[in-house]
């Protein structure tokens, strides 16, 4: 094999490597637009309680006392796996997972209900407000 062949093969392989690298970078850049799309799907909502906000980052958000729940509420009145929030078409629904103390939305006991902006969700002794996401810098 002569040296020109080697150089040509190496150049072709490097071009292939570069192409793959560019496509990986493209995938990373597209992540930003995917996040934007998710904000639209999730309607930019969040759960808030005194001094705390919880992002709703996927289509199923588990609320409970257990350490690995998506939204952890370390309170004995909250069951380990208390409620599940799901999103569809920009609308969030909350569902009770057979918890001991149940869920109250705006004071009404519910098993499964569609949530609206500024609904107050009572989970055990904790009260969470379902609201539009706010910028951290805005007071």
């Amino acid at each position: 094999m002569n040296s020109i062949h080697l150089i040509l093969c190496a150049v072709a392989a490097i071009t292939l490597d570069l192409c793959t690298l560019v496509l990986i970078i493209t995938a990373y850049r597209e992540k930003r637009s995917a996040n934007k799309n998710w904000d639209w799907v999730a309607n930019s909502m969040e759960l808030a309680e005194q001094g705390m906000t919880y992002a709703l980052g996927c289509d199923e958000v588990l609320i409970g006392r257990h350490a690995s729940a998506d939204i952890r509420l370390p309170d004995l009145s909250v069951s380990r796996y208390h409620a599940m929030m799901t999103v569809s078409n920009g609308r969030w629904t909350i569902k009770d997972l057979n918890s001991k103390s149940g869920i109250f939305v705006n004071g009404n006991p519910v098993h499964e209900i569609l949530l609206h902006e500024n609904d107050v969700i009572k989970i055990g002794n904790r009260r969470l407000i379902f609201r539009k996401r706010r910028d951290n810098n805005v007071r």
């Binding site: 040509l8 292939l16 637009s33 257990h66 004071g107």
Partner: protein
């Protein structure tokens, strides 16, 4: 429409550059008698690239990275397959690549709306049963192939995407528990386990044991996501129990494997070079002969060995194009299935679907490449998108469509549920 035109243009240019570099390599060192053959090959590759670049703009997606990787690997495979034994456009493979692209888009359109599929999940079970009945009725004696005129179809390949969808759609029903005696059971899990067992027994009966690890891999991924569903409920006990069951399954399979499988497990390819070790020994010699940069497109010897374009395709590529190209090809497929790690799916359905597709591709690739390199017994499993074969190509395309659907999901309700009552912004009755 594409959100970032600069990224789109750059991706197009680099994919075209990569294919052009490969064609230049074939031009300078390829084995061709007439330059027209190479011009036709180059024209076909560039035309397919350009048509696909334009076509993807008509599909509303959030991510297009997998599309670019798909066209990159498909046209790489067209160039590889067309250069085996001499440069000339392999029209059959070219047509199957187009079919793979079409089925990819079909897969994307079908699978992106999970609510729609969730309601019709029983169709997947029925589809798998119909395919198995078709194989029993129309295939030959304990075979997986159905011959229609001059070409053959392998219906067992079509079971793979249906099985992935069955795994994905039933993962959302983990809350629907029913008490039978003292045990809480989920009917969907039992149905899926039964379906897995039936498929495994069927593969055993058809003597297609090469595909068996693919189905087991898909089920294992589905099972793993089930015991993690929802996140908090990951059970270490269940995982250990499942591993023990898997080990017992492997031990039983090893004990009761058919004679020809036992023979393959213990074959010494160098002592039996012209018998059971014929393909593997030639494949290893081919890889060694090719070195890092290969002997030149179309100048290899392996195209004289049976199944050079499917079962030992990795070795054939390594011989003609070099180990560097062989590894790059593997790398591109792995990056394609690893894209969900960059942009993670937003639901358990999409996550299960992604892992199922990844498991199928990785297991298939591992079986083929490690089989060619004599690290595991030789199987007739294909490398997705690279090996020749219509059924495999169409199914692989469909499964990549499922992966793209996971990157560009649609979270929509059915039209009947869309209109909701207007409710005041602040309601308080406590």
């Amino acid at each position: 429409m594409y959100a970032n035109p600069v990224a789109y243009v750059f991706s197009c240019i680099f994919v075209l550059l990569a294919h052009s570099a490969m064609l230049a390599n074939a031009f300078f060192y390829g084995n061709y008698s007439d330059i027209k053959d190479l011009i036709i090959l180059g024209g076909a590759v560039v035309a397919l690239d350009i048509v696909y670049f334009i076509a993807i703009l008509f599909f509303k997606q959030i991510s297009y990275a997998v599309d670019f990787l798909l066209i990159l690997i498909l046209n790489m495979s067209v160039i590889f397959q067309s250069c085996f034994g001499g440069v000339h456009l392999d029209i059959k493979h070219y047509v199957t690549c187009i079919a793979a692209l079409v089925s990819c888009k079909a897969g994307f359109l079908i699978c992106r709306n999970y609510k729609k599929l969730q309601d019709k999940k029983y169709i997947f079970y029925i589809g798998i049963c119909i395919l198995m009945v078709m194989i029993v009725l129309f295939a030959g004696e304990r075979s997986m192939w159905i011959k229609i005129g001059s070409f053959s179809v392998q219906p067992s390949e079509f079971i793979k995407p249906l099985f992935v969808l069955a795994c994905a759609t039933s993962v959302m029903d983990q809350q629907k528990k029913h008490k039978i005696l003292f045990v809480n059971v989920v009917y969907e899990n039992i149905a899926l386990f039964a379906m897995t067992a039936v498929i495994c027994l069927f593969q055993w009966w058809c003597r297609d044991l090469g595909s068996l690890p693919t189905f087991v891999g898909i089920y294992c991924c589905g099972f793993l996501l089930r015991i993690c569903y929802p996140k908090a409920k990951f059970s270490r006990k269940k995982l250990i129990f499942a591993c023990i069951i898997l080990l017992i399954f492997c031990a039983v399979a090893y004990k009761f494997a058919p004679e020809y499988v036992q023979q393959r497990l213990h074959v010494d390819i160098w002592n039996d070079k012209n018998g059971d070790g014929y393909q593997q020994s030639r494949a290893l010699i081919g890889i060694a002969n090719g070195g890092w940069f290969g002997v030149g497109p179309g100048k290899g010897y392996l195209h004289n060995i049976p199944a050079y374009e499917s079962d030992i395709v990795f070795s054939t590529i390594c011989e003609e194009w070099g180990l560097l190209y062989g590894l790059m090809m593997v790398c591109v497929i792995l990056i394609m299935v690893a894209v969900p790690l960059i942009n993670p799916p937003r639901s358990y359905y999409h996550a299960t679907m992604s892992t199922g597709v990844c498991a199928a591709f990785v297991v298939q690739m591992a079986l083929n490449i490690f089989g060619s390199c004599n690290l595991i017994p030789f199987t007739g499993v294909t490398i997705p998108f690279v090996s020749a074969g219509g059924s495999s190509m169409v199914v692989s395309g469909f499964m990549i469509g499922m992966l793209i659907a996971c990157q560009s999901p649609v979270f929509r309700e059915s039209a009947s549920n869309k209109k909701q009552k207007e409710v005041p912004a602040w309601r308080w009755s406590e």
